[in-house]
Symmetry: D3
Subunit: 327 residues, 6 copies
């Protein structure tokens, strides 16, 4: 059986070769893989700075530094799972609807095989395309959403498909079940006092950063787990969730966010959930002069891969236990 | 009579105050003005790098250095004309058709008063919107087009309104008269040998950079004047016409282009034509680390303003002569 | 009655138009306004890096992202106050005394109308000019001063008007009442052990960063409020108060400072004071590659505007109560 | 028969997908290919700035802009040849001798099949490894060397294998035939008057930039062709041959060099020679803020590919003529 | 007696003059000095990004901001010690063994006089050279090692002298006594679960970042002091110990590290140890756009100088006490 | 006899050691030297961008690349002259008059010994200080002035000592003899048609860039030599003389200037004049992202040193001839 894993950087220098995520093989396959990393370089729907189309490559460039063993979660990722860099989905700059169609078309065969896609945006509008594909496989999924913005506005200048509207559209289209969905980290000036209420009226649980600071990490994670339960869940991680000091390369930065350590802890804390897919969006290379946003984004994706490996290990252990009990 | 002119930088330091083009007043008026500088920060139609939406402000930031007397053309610009910074036209990111509608709606009252608009893009797709507005006033205009690309492709990934297609669309819509239009400076790898021929088959005279180098500046200018004659002409200047050493801040740079000196000479050489409007497009601030593209773009626009002043002076002289002869 | 407020970014994209602070109208008026944002681009008095003259425009460029409702303080700012971007005061580079005269001349009509000026520097020397103007209106004011330096040195190389001396001069000139003034956040290597004592001998209460960490945020705020009481107070905020990771764009950075969250909390904590004016100084755009200093500075100013709105709301409520009681 | 060619950028946006040179397939094959692009990211031997290890990826990142038809040479490259991105050769940072061994081992099977390798450095020391491999296949080759330095010094601080010594070593090892080799473009301050003489004494024809300017382009090309005749020739192109305004991203820049137009013309002028391989070295991404060095380097490599296609076309035409004559 | 101290920046502006560390005299002397700052600009052994050769100058450039009195430790450094900028040790790029020889040769006369060298790298491989020199003077020293990596790997691609291997080599060569040595701050993905165990098996006490967060600063310092006791100790500080938000300019950044405040506290907490030398390594200027890594590195070195002054003061006090008791 | 010359970069890597100009010794001596390189980091008088205070160090940083033999002029510079890096003159930021006093005080002993100072600015205002010192030694000198601006304005905002006024002041103070002085390269928009005339009325010969292009290099040099004759001449070189593509790092860039090759040729062409001193001003590091302005400025200064060596050689040859004839 093929087990795809990264090139060994103690054998070949990490700065050698075509940049794929974590030096995984670049191959468009759904055979023998547990996860795929796939880019969606779409940035037409950004309302402020643009250029997120270069994020997948920017993150890949740095990700060659990653190594297979995660000491924080005590697991060698590739002992339990196999993965590839699936390349990018062809987007249509300027045409969000054709782009959504491509996303759905490309993700469907991946999801059909039960593979976990880890999707690199692109601006946050791509999540609507992602969720359409997940809905086809899993029905209305739960959403765990890390962001400094709710992204449930109705429209911008009359346009309904923008990077600030995907989750309102997703609720309207029945793609997510808001009663089991939760948004964490919201902060910064708003258009009106109503903005957070709008998200709540759509059905979301909303934990603004102000509340995160008050109740603390453990309570936040408890609320996430209680909200989601054991449903299939999609995790959407907007890099502007993190403070601009740690993630300057983004389009609508908001000060007062988590540190890089916290940024990873929130992902690690999701262990145990039934996560069927992830996206990491809104990285903007042109505001990442020292590449630390790429460092952080790589690390966040690495924790997403780790979650996939941990889930795989749990499944193997459960099977082993069942087998054991049968004997 | 009001005569709008820049703030005097020997009285008030040029780094003081809100950045408007050349320190002109920022006022949306069509009264008592001969030209307006107006931005169209649209970049949805870029096929490679994006971020041209920040070009108008980037160019304004540097333009405060400009002074009123042009020694190369021997004219104090504001002795003969009055102008304002008209601000930006509200674009709709992601929606080119609504953006075109806004461009037409905003330019129409300016053109109706016979004012010369100097339009700062944005990507090159905006020229189609500009030409629609000019057509309403002047019918099919002549086009003088400086660029390293022909921008007469039919479509990209099935999309017909992109920054590489405006002049094919303009011919199809009857907005320009290709028999009196000319493209200068084309170079760089192409999709096929047919690319230049396509432009010629549309009716354009095409002078690739290779030919520019062979025949020289004087011949190029002669061919422009012969082609255009005394028709109303629109000048479209893509900053990638210039060599990347002089204009690095652009989305699809092509090496082997003119110097900054030549870049201005081609504008100065247009003196005598009946120019009714200009655009300057494809400046990309995120690739302009030292701001020299802003320096050059400001200078190109300054020469456009100068052409407007020279035309005004000619008209005044003609009137004076007529008056003289009548006496 | 005119109520000046920002352009609506859900109607017009925030990257459209001339950059004014928060997309407020750029108009030099003292009618119908509660606050004005005004730049003082002076940097002659910087002892290390220079270029603070570009700070006002740099901060304006980013500030277009700000929205009117402040969820942390639960107020829609423009429900209670009206404000404009007043432009910049003409400074005289190289001549600090003539610059001071201009500052006083320009601020006086603003202060005479009881308007709260929010002044963007420039280096910290401008505070002396600001305080001279405030003194004319309010007599000796209290000072709340956030900074990593005391700025009470006597001179540099024999020069008495530098960015490290304004508050000694202000005490000498009787512009501030040091017994009701306080300095917070001082840190970093000093010329001698005497440096902090000098500030205390001038009459200031000094809370170095080391003490801030020991006593904690609540105690710091308590001491500020106790020190200032209900006197008219001027708030001077040097961006180097904040840690360089969060505010790299400054001239004399000192590590070990507050985070961006804390940076805002210290402003929010001033609610209730009788603040008559603010300045935000020492932003240096040439060391702000990813623009996060602009993000933070915009947010700090936004909290200053919020304080003004909160004060306005309190006044309205008090009036209403009085009216109520009279009935 | 397989014909490897770039992805079509009018079908899939050029910013989509893993960055390979010119969007060619990344496959390590010697079947059905006429040329391969291969990186050698070695920079241990740089005497001044270092970081050339990132050049192959930096150049690939931009090269996605290239299109298949070369209007200057009137050929659609992929009508006549097939090529792939071969990836990078594993270098051993810090160990030049093991790196040379790897280069030879990797190039040998490519050369054995008569394929033209286009090698992207890395610092100039890699040319010695390249030439060792070529020597195995072709014996002592001719060298056409574009550079602002002769790179025939004996040693630096006692080290004989540095980026300023490869061509002395190559002559000593008998890898090149200096009597049919030529160096073009040398300039800048030297250690002594003897430096150019040293190169001549080794047998090279040396055409310093000063002489290039005197005799002109046509004479330079004439001398190259006369020197090389129809021998197998290796072309080594150091990007610092070009003026720093056009190629800032390099380690030992020397002012007073050719323009980007001339930089390409010197490659185009080699058409007709029996070129068996190329290298393009000394690109340094950390000094290429606006990426124009990547633009130029991509274009130079594109002209190298074009030369390979032109040679292929000549061969086909010759075969056709022979066939014709036989009939 | 000569007492070398920095130029007075209240007399001469800090931006005047050749950049030496902290404006100390640049003189290669071992007379009348208690510490020397010396650069070792070697970067051949970096496995990822390179360019650390420019770190000594980069840090010197900023260090001119430092002032003599340290308020956190309440000491005027130059009241108790004298120091110079010793310049750089001539390294041999590409030849680590000759470089090690030079390091030993240059440090020996400094150590022989009991002077404390503060060494600025360069990549971390230089520590092996440093330790060889210290061993000659002090025998096997204790090591206090702040880093996000253990740097006890055996080899990279078969190379045993790389920046990830110095401390394994040092143990093998008997240069340090691992039973009295400790590593703090390790984190980030590893090659295998064995990596930390390897360091422990070599004899080191290892405190990964995860444990640092659990036990807290005081416990960490307690363990350091207990481990080291009163032995001669060498402090090796890799700047990647600190979080990339605070120290972006480094070659193998790992998120989740200490803040700038903590970064200094760990050095301050070493007061009382018998420190005989320091190095500060892995600063990489090309990823330090806003120079905040230089700010932090300067501050860390300043605390190292302070420790030397504190030790000197203790010695003087002890002598005084002895003298007192004798009377 | 001491002969100061640069460290040998084939022995010690050029990136080692404190950065002095060309790796010359940093020593403030007037003994045994023919030229000194000295910085004047003053930028208070800049009317647009500021930060020229960092130019001397920025240029020194790159200048370590220079080597002693100049092939264009065929001379090993240090065979004929000895020089040192004299460090910087202490300027007083914000106080131009005290700065002028310092300049005069520092240059006087250098000039008294007949040494040629090569002065690195700083903004162009420093030339007035320089000329005051030269006048004390040589009386009214000739001026050869390369610049895109005349710098003979009367004042800015009422300030008479700015970087645009030094040469009017110098004429008024009788420091230069305008009848034997010449300005070359002027271009760009002006305040009025009178600007060049003003310079001519002061007595200068003015050769704007437009005329330079018309008459050509040889004629320009001929006019310089005819104008100056054999008088003592001071050469003032403003880096904005050169096109921004070649010298982006400056405060008031003007497009349409000379190339880097021409930039050097104009200096080389001065050979034969009786040059007693030079300045090179207006380099602005914060706009020199890739450091090519530093490369060019270093090269210009290198040609200035060469001119000094050539003059020295001529003098030696004349002495030898005289001696010969006497025998």
């Amino acid at each position: 059986m093929t087990n795809y894993q990264p090139k060994d950087s103690s054998k070949s220098p990490r700065f050698c070769g075509i940049r794929t995520f974590m030096r995984l093989e670049q191959i468009k396959t759904t055979d023998h893989v547990d996860f795929v990393v796939v880019g969606v370089p779409f940035d037409t729907a950004a309302s402020n700075r643009t250029g997120q189309r270069y994020a997948p490559q920017h993150i890949r460039n740095f990700s060659v530094l990653l190594r297979p063993y995660n000491p924080d979660m005590d697991i060698n990722v590739f002992d339990y799972c196999s993965g590839v860099d699936y390349g990018d989905i062809d987007v249509i700059p300027g045409n969000i609807h054709r782009t959504y169609d491509n996303i759905v078309a490309e993700l469907t065969p991946i999801l059909d095989k039960g593979i976990v896609p880890i999707i690199i945006g692109g601006d946050h509008s791509i999540s609507l395309g992602n969720l359409r594909a997940f809905h086809k496989k899993y029905g209305a999924v739960s959403l765990v959403h890390f962001d400094s913005h709710s992204d449930t506005w109705n429209d911008y200048y009359g346009e309904r498909y923008m990077h600030g509207t995907p989750f309102r559209r997703a609720v309207e289209e029945g793609l997510i079940d808001p009663r089991h969905s939760i948004q964490i980290g919201l902060r910064g000036p708003l258009y009106s006092a109503q903005d957070y209420e709008d998200a709540r009226e759509l059905g979301f649980e909303v934990v603004p950063m102000k509340e995160v600071r008050k109740i603390g990490f453990d309570q936040v994670m408890k609320r996430i787990h209680e909200r989601v339960e054991n449903r299939p869940v999609f995790v959407s991680y907007d890099i502007d969730f993190v403070d601009p000091a740690y993630a300057p390369g983004t389009g609508t930065p908001e000060v007062g966010g988590p540190t890089s350590f916290e940024a990873l802890e929130y992902v690690r804390g999701l262990d145990g959930l039934n996560i069927v897919g992830f996206d990491l969006v809104e990285v903007l290379p042109t505001y990442d002069a020292n590449e630390i946003t790429a460092v952080l984004a790589s690390s966040v994706i690495y924790e997403m891969i780790t979650l996939t490996a941990l889930k795989k290990r749990r499944e193997l252990q459960q099977k082993a236990e069942v087998l054991n009990q049968q004997q």
